[in-house]
Symmetry: C2
């Protein structure tokens, strides 16, 4: 029996897609950077179906590409050009299996949309603290497989810190059922850790038990003008002392980046009358009364102004104003695309090295004709996105892009940093991992890949560099 | 050349211990539950020395037992009875390599004592939030290798959540250097996760980069009397809503457990005049003024009393009174040992299942002659230590102990729990892992062990059940 016939017997004919037109949305990414061809796309609706699909593909020696919301930016969910890979879509596995309010956990299937998990948590008076721009379309399985980050890592951690239990279909079709909602559990090796951030190269995540937290009753947002990015380090240190864990977001934005947003995005307006070379958008959240939090933030910012850590600051006086502030931040990608050819980077360095990282990257502007640099990032995580932009139509752009990226990555690695902070590795960074990973580390990665995927059928060509 | 001569060439003759008397403290645990014999004990002073020691042992086919402060309770650092194993002590690797205040990290060697790390953090205005009774003697390498828990996991997580970077000597003597201080880093598989909680069975942890947090300026402690353990669930839910992340400890204590402490430990006194079947010791911590925190806690507790969630409560009015409250909690083990033959358990269940777990375990008291049950645990983590105590001298105690443990473990597993929450597996729980781990999980553990320790020389006989 052909593989397609076997798959149809498992999931039904309607859930095995083979026509080129129907496959089109699944074989390229939303930015149009990566595209490939697929043998077919299969849509299982339950863990047992995924297990049978994987076992069938393994018997036929067919490589599999797991795909969630296809919101990634590194090509991790896109098949290669050969047209022999099977896309395994998790979209139909979108049940919330249960919410345990007293345990502060929610059990979900991999295909659940992040926003739906957020809504279920909210209905139970809880917060699922993962905050991503793609929340309306990204799926939980993808956020786990990329160990997603976002703007609230400062307070609640990456996806890895939010996963208590995991269910994974292994490369041979067996199911690893570790769907436990335990906050302390050391009964042997913590196997789920291997699959978090592995981008489907070691198995297919089908379900998870996620941590919830008490829903903050109050939140406050401020836009702050700064003299320098060094001042931002002083400001975050001061505010973490003053506000403790209340500080939930601290986003650094360079003046050229903010100006690009104001110029390109209709309806945006300047958050403060001041001009400044650097800006910070910050958020605090807490239990208790709104006024108490507002007062604490106002007081913390007044002290910062007095201490010369900030030039000016504006606390949002309404939810609407807070949304306007956040819109400036969330419009960054759109504004940059309108500005020119964008080469974005997802580097991290120790927080203390951020000013040096930015200074050294800024040196590149003088060396590449037409290059503009926009800086936006999560300062509390040391995760600074250095966005390089060339004028559209400039000749030799692909080669220039590679050269600039190489330089930015080497600067980050030289400061003890990473070239893949929160977006994953996928296809795009796989062959550059050696910039920030040692031969011993790469060798261990390959060993882990061989152990869990001896046939090399799980999302091949992603994450792990060839040996 | 003999192995001993090779080791002496690496670390110096004085640091290869072979005399039985000098080995004695290292071949048994502090509770006297486990003892073995060792071929020798070697004390390397640097990572490169550990690497050469491991390589030499591997060439000679000699098994190694890494040992930190030897404060464990599961026999994980104790050699077997054969007298052929080499104990690798990390005690001389006790340097703090650096503290980066702006990055909120500290880089330490595995042999650093926890209390010294705490002191270094404090000197920099930071907190290293791991709180263990053994802080004066346990070493960081041991806390990482057991993924230690403690009383503040509720707020800051287990050791796994506090480790950003790791340095490990692998079974073949190569060094995995992942000493990075990054809060976001997804450049390939997160290899360090495999070694955290592995109890030295996959390699020897030699260094780590640990997370620090802003040092709370205020803390408040309270003792609360409760009608039932169900009420404790209501109380923690209410206080997490009212206090948010300020709630940093929430320890459940049964009346018989508290009475045993009051009876056995000189100088202790009743925290409240009330009697009650259940007690909670809780702590809140925050930035900002002490009075503000005190008021918030008082108000939260008053609401709880009004809502019938608590019978009575006392907030410590001084640091000394807070210490007296905590002394009641920290004296539990000592009091229990004085009460009889102690069989302690380290189970966890979902927080919502704690009352059912306790109720089902309580049923054991009627089935075993002379059995007393004391309950003490970290309710917010679902980590309840069910302490079974038989009168000293009761005949057949070893068999009884095994039978009671088996029952407690099966009750926990039946509620989706774990038999090894925060103390590790070591020798004591290795052969019981199948109670709470599936054949697929055990098979993956064995695969990981074979991958990283193909000769089976790293702490053999610990953690991973024989296949």
């Amino acid at each position: 029996m052909s593989l397609e016939a076997e798959l149809a017997a498992i999931v039904g004919t309607a859930n095995v897609i083979t026509e080129a037109e129907a496959l089109r949305p699944a074989v390229s990414d939303w930015r149009g950077r990566y595209s490939g061809r697929a043998r077919c796309l299969v849509r299982p609706a339950a863990t047992a179906e995924v297990a049978r699909v994987v076992a069938a593909c393994a018997r036929h020696g067919a490589a599999m590409v797991p795909q969630g919301g296809n919101t990634g930016v590194c090509g991790g969910a896109i098949p290669d050009a050969g047209g022999r890979e099977v896309i395994v879509s998790l979209a139909r596995m979108n049940r919330i299996r249960g919410l345990d309010a007293a345990n502060n956990t929610i059990a979900v299937e991999a295909g659940c949309i992040l926003a739906e998990v957020n809504r279920a948590a909210e209905a139970a008076g809880r917060l699922f603290p993962m905050d991503l721009g793609s929340e309306g379309s990204c799926q939980i399985g993808g956020t786990i497989s990329t160990n997603a980050g976002g703007t609230r890592v400062l307070r609640w951690g990456n996806m890895r810190e939010l996963v208590l239990g995991l269910e994974v279909v292994l490369a041979d079709g067996r199911v690893l059922d570790a769907m436990r909602g335990l906050r302390k559990d050391n009964a042997g090796y913590d196997l789920k850790q291997m699959f978090i951030g592995a981008e489907g190269t070691l198995g297919i995540v089908t379900g998870a038990v996620l941590k919830l937290v008490p829903r903050p009753a109050a939140s406050a947002t401020a836009f702050v003008a700064l003299e320098s990015c060094e001042a931002a380090l002083g400001l975050i240190d001061h505010l973490r002392g003053a506000l403790g864990d209340r500080l939930s977001a601290f986003e650094l934005i360079s003046a050229p980046q903010l100006e690009a947003v104001l110029a390109q995005i209709p309806g945006t307006r300047r958050p403060l009358a001041t001009t400044a070379p650097w800006w910070v958008l910050l958020e605090a959240a807490d239990s208790g009364a709104q006024q108490v939090l507002d007062d604490a933030l106002e007081q913390g910012l007044m002290q910062a102004l007095d201490a010369g850590l900030a030039r000016d600051a504006s606390v949002a006086r309404s939810g609407r104003e807070a949304q306007e502030f956040w819109r400036l931040r969330h419009s960054v990608s759109e504004a940059n695309v309108k500005t020119g050819r964008v080469i974005s980077h997802d580097t991290s360095v120790p927080v203390s090295r951020v000013p040096e990282f930015i200074a050294r990257c800024s040196g590149l502007a003088g060396r590449f004709d037409g290059l503009r640099l926009h800086v936006v990032g999560h300062l509390g995580d040391g995760n600074v996105h250095m966005v390089a932009i060339f004028p559209p139509g400039q000749p030799g752009l692909d080669a220039l892009a590679r050269e600039v990226s190489r330089e930015v990555h080497e600067i980050a690695a030289g400061l003890g940093g990473s070239i893949a902070a929160e977006h994953g590795v996928g296809q795009s960074l796989r062959d550059q991992l050696a910039i920030c990973r040692s031969p011993v580390e790469l060798d261990l990665m390959r060993g882990l890949k061989r152990l869990l995927d001896p046939q090399g059928l799980m999302n091949p060509g992603k994450v792990v560099p060839a040996g």
